[in-house]
Each structure stands twice: as C-alpha cells, then as structure tokens.
C-alpha cells in the first residue's frame, strides 16, 4: 500500500510540474501557435489517446469482455474505424476549419453558430450538462472499483478518496488542456497495457494456446453450470458470438458495440479536440497514434478480460465474474491476483492517469456547457459567468460522485460502467449526430430541420432509456414507480423491444426527421453567413 501511495504522490507532483511547464511556454496566443507547431508528434499522439480512454473502457468494458467474451472486439474495430479514422479524416478537418471560421469553442457553440441559433446551443448545453454526469460517474466507478480491490477497503471510502484526488487535480488546473500532462498520462497507460498483454499471453503459452484454452474452458461441465444464467440469455462461450437475436446478443451488439462505437462520433470532448489542433497535418499524424493507442487500450482490455476466465478458473475453479464478485471487479481483481505487485502499482497509476485525463475533458465540457453555452450565449447574460461555470463544475462533480455511489447499489452482475457509458454515448449520437453531419456537409439545410431532428432524437432516446430498454429502465426505476413494471412493453406483444438499445431507434428517427425537415423547410440563413461557415472548406 505504501508503494502505491508514494507512486500517487510522485504522479501528482509530475503532473503539476508538467502543467506548470506547459503554461510557462504558452503565455500568449502567439506562443501558443508556435508552441503547438513545435510539439513532437509523439507527445501530440499520446495526449490524444489519454483523453479518449478511461477507466470506463479498461475496467468497465474490460469487465464486460470477462463476462460476455471476445465479441467486444467489434467495439475496438468500430472505435478505430469510426472513432479515429472517420472522425479524424472525415469530420475532424471540417470541424476544425468551421470551428475557427465561426469562433466556436465548444460543440454546442459550433452547432449554434453554424445554424445561427441560440436554442440549438442552449439545448445541446443542457443535454450535455444533465446527462454527462452519468458517463463521469461511470469513469469514477471504474477508478473506485480498482482502488477498492487494490487496497482492500470499502467502495464508499475508495470513491471518496478518488473524488478527493480528482478535486485536487481540478483545483490544480487539470482541466486546462496541457499537452505534456496528457502525454505523460498516455505514456503511463501505453506502457501499462503493453506489459499486460505480453504478460497474459506469455503466462498462457502464447496467442493461439491462450485462446484455445479459453475455447475449451466453456465446454467443461462445471463452467456450463456456473454460466447457466448467461447460457439461457444466449451466451455461447468467450470465443464465440452470442446466439443471434438473444438478449445477450442485443446487449452486446446494440448497446455495447453500436452505442459506444457510433456514439463516439458525436462526443463533445472529441469535437473540441479537433478545434484545438493547429493544422490538418496534426490530424493526419494523430490518426497513426490514435489507431495504435485504441488498439493497445481497448483491444488489450477486451482480450485480457476474456482470458482472465482461464486464469481465474485454474486458480479458484470459478469463472471471472464469480471469482471477482461482479462484472466491474473482474479487471481489478485480475490485476491484484495474477500480476506481480510492482506492476500492480504501475497499472494502478495507468488507470488513475486514464481517469484523470478523461475526467478533466468531461469537466471542461460540462463547465463550458453551463457557463458559456447556456448562461452566456443561450440566455445572453454576462457578468457572473466565472461563478456560474465554477458552480456548474462543482455541481457536476457532486452529482457524478452521488451517481457513482448509487451505481454500486445496482446488481453487480450487470455491466454497470459499460451501460452508463453507452447510455450517454447513445443519447449524444441520437441528439447531435444527424445535425452535426448536416452542419459540416449540407450547406443549404435549414435550422428548423436540424432543431426538429435534435429534439426527436433526444425525446425518443430519453423515453426509450427510461421506459422501454429494460436494462436501463429497470435501474432508473422511474418506469417501475409509474407503471409497476421494469419496461412498459414487458408482457406485451412488443416485449422484444425491451432488449433493443435506444440508439437503434432514436438515431434513425432523428436522421429521418432531419432529412424530411430538410426537404420540406426552407433555409433562411444568409449567403454571407454560409460563406463564412464554409470558408476554406
């Protein structure tokens, strides 16, 4: 324990020092420009990766792979193809140019300025401020689960400790995007995961041998007994996809793979990242590191999460979820039990670093959503924006900690972190993605079409989350309170809909309504405005 505490103190010291160095070098906007151009691509690369990946991906989704198997690798495929390649190559360059043309500094501001609509900016700001704490809570829970297992203390104490470290980090200026700090965190994460995959494959006798053991494990009678509940839901082993159309298949394919894989395209911190890069060259270079980094983070977490079943079984006679005592405890317990303790400390730091860099970009998004998008722009007020922004961040931290506390009361066999993350990603995609694509690519689309599309996606998404998709509706309990069942379609002819993730319905609905709106309403934005938006594109 002493080693871990010393490591955290050293880590916080280095982060502070790098933050100080970063600010010293970027005092004026001219310095900022020059500084940005001289930064080594590797530093830039690691800093991108650090903000994308968090404890949610490693602990939450890694745990989900421990329960559901290697089908999660489809999420890695989508994360790299959509979250990196399409996002950077297709959306990134236009977003950056348009953001600078319109002096936009947040995602809601980009949409609001593009369509000359305070409503769009305010609406997007409110959605982000109200729902992002669910994602933040998922990241906090991932950190707290790891601390709980690593130090053997209660979840509540771990959460408080982690929240305190986060508060210190935010207070030290951790929200201000300092490239060196993020790069340092990214480097720790990369080293940690690289060691982990080598260690696990080596321990199980190589790549093919490890997978073969995992395939064979499922055929053992005692394993069939332990996973009987999962098998009933469509589970067919960790190296097979679940049975098509089964509850587990719907959960894996629509919630985990599609919800997060597609939802990443409309993530506010990612859009801001595009605007902060100095030129398209940096975006091109970031594609290299982004692709490799995501593979090393999520790919490794999902493979190790799945393979943990073999090691847990050999040691305890139980599958990972039973041996660890819950889906979200699989990765923390695996690290504690099977890797050398010196590496446990490094991995602990890697996770803290992953959480910190992501949390800082989340608090940045929520703070600017309430202070700039809603208060200054949508409501047109001035004067107290610093107070409003900081109070907003404080509220967001408190709300996230409360949600992370409550999340631990849910059924531990659920993929709580992964579901919370997917909920926010899916809602963002349904509300913003059609409008965001239209903003970048459809010059003559009307503001009305985008507004009705956004509202449709959001309203259907929220109704689906609270009343239809049983996995979320049952946890949120509003449906139970009002209708006395876990989903309003339960025990009806439409019961299958309770398995379908909101993104499958809300995103197409939003896209169709935006499309119909584009055909039936007239663009009222001036030519001058549109020329300004698309200058240089």
């Amino acid at each position: 324990m002493l080693g871990s505490i010393i490591a955290i103190i050293v880590y916080l010291f280095v982060v502070t020092f790098l933050g100080y160095l970063g600010f010293k070098h970027t005092k004026t906007s001219a310095d900022y420009l020059v500084g940005g151009r001289q930064i080594h691509p590797m530093i830039m690369a690691l800093s991108y990766g650090a903000t994308f990946i968090s404890t949610s991906a490693i602990v939450g989704f890694g745990g989900a792979a421990g329960t559901l198997g290697m089908g999660l690798l489809w999420l890695t495929v989508l994360n790299i193809l959509f979250g990196i390649f399409i996002a950077f190559v297709v959306f990134g360059k236009r977003t950056r140019r348009m953001g600078h043309n319109l002096d936009a500094h947040t995602f809601p501001e980009l949409l609001g300025n593009r369509f000359n609509s305070k409503f769009i900016q305010g609406f997007a700001g409110v959605v982000i401020f109200l729902f992002m704490p669910i994602y933040t809570a998922a990241v906090l829970k991932g950190g707290a689960d790891f601390i709980q297992t690593h130090f053997g203390i209660s979840y509540e104490v771990s959460l408080l400790f982690f929240a305190a470290v986060v508060a210190v980090y935010v207070w030290m200026g951790g929200m201000k995007g300092v490239m060196y700090t993020d790069a340092f965190q990214g480097a720790i994460m990369f080293i940690g995961m690289a060691f982990l995959i080598i260690f696990v494959y080596n321990k199980l006798g190589g790549v093919s041998s490890a997978h073969e053991q995992l395939t064979e494990l499922y055929n053992k009678p005692e394993i069939q007994e332990q996973t009987a509940g999962l098998i009933k839901g469509g589970f067919r082993g960790w190296t097979s996809m679940p049975a098509s159309g089964s509850p587990i298949w719907w959960s894996l394919v629509t919630t985990i793979v599609m919800g997060v894989g597609i939802g990443v395209l409309a993530q506010p911190p990612l859009v801001v990242r595009f605007m902060t890069v100095k030129s398209n060259r940096e975006l091109n270079r970031a594609v290299v590191s982004g692709g490799v980094f995501i593979l090393m983070m999520t790919g490794v977490a999902f493979v190790v999460g799945s393979l943990s079943n073999v090691l847990f079984f050999n040691e305890t006679g139980k599958v990972a979820i039973l041996a660890a005592g819950g889906n979200d405890k699989i990765i923390p317990m695996f690290i504690k039990q099977f890797v050398p303790s010196w590496f446990g400390v490094i991995f602990f730091l890697a996770l803290i670093a992953a959480a910190m860099s992501t949390l800082s970009s989340q608090f940045h998004s929520m703070g600017t959503a309430v202070g700039r998008d809603v208060y200054e722009k949508a409501l047109g007020k001035k004067g107290n924006s610093i107070f409003i922004t900081r109070t907003g961040i404080l509220l967001a931290i408190l709300l996230s900690v409360i949600l992370a506390y409550l999340a631990n009361k849910l059924d531990s066999s659920m993929q709580i972190i992964a579901t919370g993350t997917a909920l926010f990603f899916g809602l963002c995609a349904a509300s913003f993605l059609p409008g965001y694509i239209a903003a970048l690519y459809v010059k003559k689309i009307s503001t009305k079409a985008v507004i009705i599309g956004m509202i449709t996606g959001f309203v259907i998404g929220v109704i689906w989350i609270f009343f239809i998709h049983e996995k979320e509706a049952s946890s949120l309990q509003l449906c139970m309170a009002l209708f006395n069942k876990t989903s309003i379609v339960k025990d009806t002819a439409m019961a299958k809909l309770a398995l379908v993730d909101p993104i499958v319905v809300a995103l197409p609905a939003s896209a169709i309504v935006t499309f119909i709106g584009a055909l039936t309403t007239k663009n009222t934005l001036s030519e001058n405005h549109l020329d300004k938006c698309f200058k240089g594109i």
């Binding site: 906007s29 001219a30 900022y32 420009l33 290697m70 089908g71 690798l73 489809w74 890695t76 495929v77 790299i80 193809l81 390649f85 190559v89 360059k93 953001g99 600078h100 043309n101 002096d103 500094h105 929200m175 201000k176 995007g177 790549v207 093919s208 490890a210 997978h211 073969e212 395939t215 190296t239 097979s240 996809m241 605007m275 902060t276 030129s279 398209n280 060259r281 091109n284 270079r285 970031a286 594609v287 290299v288 590191s289 982004g290 692709g291 490799v292 995501i294 593979l295 790919g299 608090f363 940045h364 703070g367 600017t368 202070g371 700039r372 924006s385 922004t389 900081r390 961040i393 240089g536």
Partner: protein, 59 residues
C-alpha cells in the same frame, strides 16, 4: 485460426489489427500534408487561441 473457431470473432480480431494498420499507413502517407496555413488562417487561428485561453481561465 489463433485458437478461435467462431468466424465472427476471428474477423473482429483481424479487423482490429487491420484497422489500426490502416490508420498507421494513412497517417504516414499524409504525415507532412496539411501543414501550410494561409496568412488569414494564421490570424484567425491566433484570435481563436486567444479566446480559448480566456475561456479556460473561467474554468
């Protein structure tokens, strides 16, 4: 292949690596492209950065 028998899992495993390779190849081919900014872009970017610093100060 790789000790996995389900074609969909093999496909995911291979596509993960191939898509990362696609990113590496694209990035290397375009490594130095897109660096030059027009003088007006430079001025715009400078203004944008200045405003960004002001926003960060409020956080």
């Amino acid at each position: 292949m790789f000790g996995i028998h389900d074609i969909w899992i093999i496909l995911a495993y291979v596509l993960c690596i191939l898509s990362a390779i696609l990113c590496v190849v694209y990035g290397i081919v375009n490594w130095n492209k897109g660096a030059d900014l027009e003088p007006n872009e430079l001025a715009e970017e400078s203004d944008w950065s200045k405003n960004e610093s002001e926003i960060e100060d409020k956080l």
